[in-house]
């Protein structure tokens, strides 16, 4: 029997990123941590005292918690080769539900159930009805935003006391937002890297058909990514409602696309199957440091637009992909 020649193995760090499956999928994360490090150094040079002050870092944690949560959720959807534009509206919806005139034990589960339903509808539409994710979630986003405005036409209402407590103040010297971030990130990393669901998600994101033929419930896995994303959005909504101690039917609108930015800047490819929550940590921090650094440096809002836009384009240009397009 003439055996096949052994597969050539190239040595070196760079080859590792091509040949080792784990590092191949995480190469974007490595890059974005490098970008983050560069930015932190830059900030240290420009606004050293204020940025690295305890107050500021603690503020930063509070500010970034919602973006962390939605971006992590979005990461799941992107890994499954989907796209969820509706998270912003889901945040608004959960904020609206959480400030309804209902008992806390009713409305808190209700908010998450509503979010899960939106996720299921998104997943169902994309997976079983085969509507393009951008189109599907654009449509549901519009519908969900409408519902949020019906439930809560103007900002206000009373946030559940529990959420206000959980989202404000400090615990062991660290701000509440920090714990939300740690909890969300740990859960996401565990799901992706610590469970069988994670491998199956990577498989499904690359090629749902092949994954299915390998005996995996690919459709269910893809639908689940939308549910996770919606639930994370609801969690972000809960945090925001607690932090702002009130509801707002528009509170999530900016976070929809920002969540994609957070995940994409972290090296998760929009084509699916490459990237992950570890990179998203760096991606979100890049956005946060950028916003915060520009504010601290006293850059005028006009110039902030230009600087932020350029940084975005620059950072994302580092993640060169196989094919151009979406």
């Amino acid at each position: 029997m003439s055996a096949l020649p052994a597969e050539p193995v190239r040595a070196g760090l760079l080859a590792r990123f091509r040949q080792d499956a784990f590092w191949y999928r995480q190469r974007g994360a490595v890059l974005s941590f490098a970008v983050l490090a560069a930015m932190l150094a830059l900030v240290a040079a420009v606004v050293p005292g204020t940025f690295y002050s305890a107050t500021n870092l603690s503020n930063l944690a509070g500010q970034l918690a919602p973006l962390f949560l939605v971006s992590l959720g979005q990461t799941f959807v992107l890994l499954g080769a989907g796209f969820d534009l509706s998270v912003g509206a889901v945040i608004s919806l959960s904020s609206a539900i959480l400030t309804l005139d209902l008992a806390d034990p009713v409305k808190i589960p209700l908010a998450f159930a509503a979010a899960a339903t939106v996720g299921l509808v998104n997943g169902w539409g994309c997976v079983h009805l085969r509507v393009h994710p951008i189109i599907m979630t654009l449509a549901t986003s519009s519908i969900v935003q409408g519902l949020a405005l019906i439930l809560l036409p103007t900002p206000g209402g009373a946030a559940p006391g529990l959420l206000v407590q959980l989202a404000s103040g400090t615990f062991m010297g660290l701000p509440a937002g920090f714990y939300w971030i740690v909890a969300g990130t740990a859960a996401a990393i565990w799901l992706v890297h610590g469970t069988t669901y994670g491998v199956r998600l990577y498989a499904t994101g690359q090629n749902p058909q092949a994954a299915w033929m390998s005996g995996i419930e690919a459709p269910r896995i893809r639908i689940l990514t939308y549910v996770i994303s919606s639930l994370m959005a609801a969690l972000a909504g809960a945090y925001l409602t607690g932090r702002l101690a009130s509801g707002d039917p528009n509170v999530g609108s900016a976070l929809g696309l920002d969540s994609v930015l957070g995940a994409a800047l972290g090296g998760t490819l929009l084509s699916g199957g490459v990237g992950g929550p570890i990179g998203t940590i760096a991606g979100v921090l890049i956005i946060g440091v950028l916003n915060n650094g520009l504010n601290l440096a006293g850059v005028s809002p006009y110039y902030q637009f230009v600087v932020k836009g350029s940084m975005l384009v620059l950072a994302v240009s580092l993640f060169r992909r196989k094919e151009a397009g979406l």
Binding site: R130, I134, A139, G146, L257, Y302, V306, G309, S310
Partner: protein
């Protein structure tokens, strides 16, 4: 026969349904003056959506159209152009759109960065430059010809409607009669196969983005003419509306479907539905819900049709 039926854009059926509905409930809606007004309302969005069609057919996306419209508006309204020939002002505005499209195109093709992120980034940059350029205080030195384009009429017919039709013809020819269109649909369907057939895939995508920028600038010009003054944040709602119109017109990302006519019908459907909702006193949330439902239903029907055919 079935092939032909499923090839028709979903917007056509939607439009027919809406017209029948209007005929029974709001007959004045279908009166000529109102239709002319609808035409004028639809024209700027229609042109932007035509531009969006190129990128969507090419499996990309342009989220910077809103910022482009606002930027064009700031340019043409700026006092700096007092005394210059209007043609120059228009040329400069259109060149701005062209440059924005070019930048998007280069970033998307050469750096192969995600179009979603890139065009969001360029949108932020353009918005910032617009603010800096106008000092936040938009002028109102708009040449009359632009106002005429935006609100003028020839007889009963709005000039902007005619401009839209002209752009429709241009887009139709580009997409369905010229090599470029074949390149776009081929590269949108399978970039790899397109490369191996000798199609200049990158150039094609670049041109799609340039066209989108150019069309967005043209739409912005009409909208500016309609508004008549500089106005910050003009056209922000055109980003999602233009995508919605393209989807209603039957184009999906790549896949060889959709085109100029579909997008024009899609725009008409969108504008018609929103007006009808206004007339029925449906409030903002209701409009959002109906708009979402219309998009979802169109996409589902279209997708089912494709699978069967």
């Amino acid at each position: 026969m079935k092939r032909i039926l499923t090839a028709l854009p979903p917007a056509l059926w939607g439009l027919a349904a809406v017209c029948v509905f209007a005929a029974f409930t709001q007959p004045q809606f279908l009166s000529l003056p109102f239709l002319m007004i609808l035409l004028r309302q639809a024209a700027p969005l229609g042109i932007v959506a035509l531009g969006q069609t190129f990128v969507v057919a090419n499996r990309s996306l342009d989220l910077s159209v809103g910022a482009t419209i606002a930027f064009v508006n700031l340019i043409v309204a700026h006092a700096m152009w007092n005394g210059y020939p209007p043609a120059l002002v228009i040329a400069i505005a259109l060149s701005a759109g062209l440059v924005i499209g070019l930048v998007n195109g280069v970033l998307v093709t050469v750096l192969r960065a995600s179009a979603v992120v890139v065009t969001l980034g360029t949108a932020a940059i353009i918005t910032g430059i617009g603010f800096i350029y106008s000092g936040g205080a938009p002028g109102n030195a708009m040449p009359d010809i632009i106002k005429w384009l935006g609100r003028g009429r020839i007889g009963m017919v709005p000039v902007s409607g005619l401009v839209w039709a002209a752009f429709g013809i241009v887009a139709f020819v580009l997409l369905r009669r010229l090599t470029l269109g074949r390149y776009i649909f081929a590269a949108g369907d399978n970039p790899s196969a397109a490369t191996y057939s000798g199609i200049p895939v990158n150039t094609t995508l670049l041109i799609s983005h340039v066209l989108s920028g150019l069309f967005a600038a043209s739409g912005g010009l009409l909208l500016s003419g309609l508004v008549g003054v500089g106005s910050l944040n003009l056209g922000a709602d055109y980003i999602l509306s233009s995508i919605a119109a393209v989807i209603l017109g039957g184009a999906v990302f790549g896949g060889g479907a959709g085109g100029a006519i579909g997008t024009m019908l899609g725009t008409a459907l969108l504008v018609m539905v929103l007006n009808l909702l206004t007339v029925f006193g449906v409030d903002q949330p209701g409009k959002l819900i109906v708009q979402g439902l219309v998009i979802a239903v169109a996409a589902v029907i279209y997708q089912q049709g494709r699978r069967g055919g």
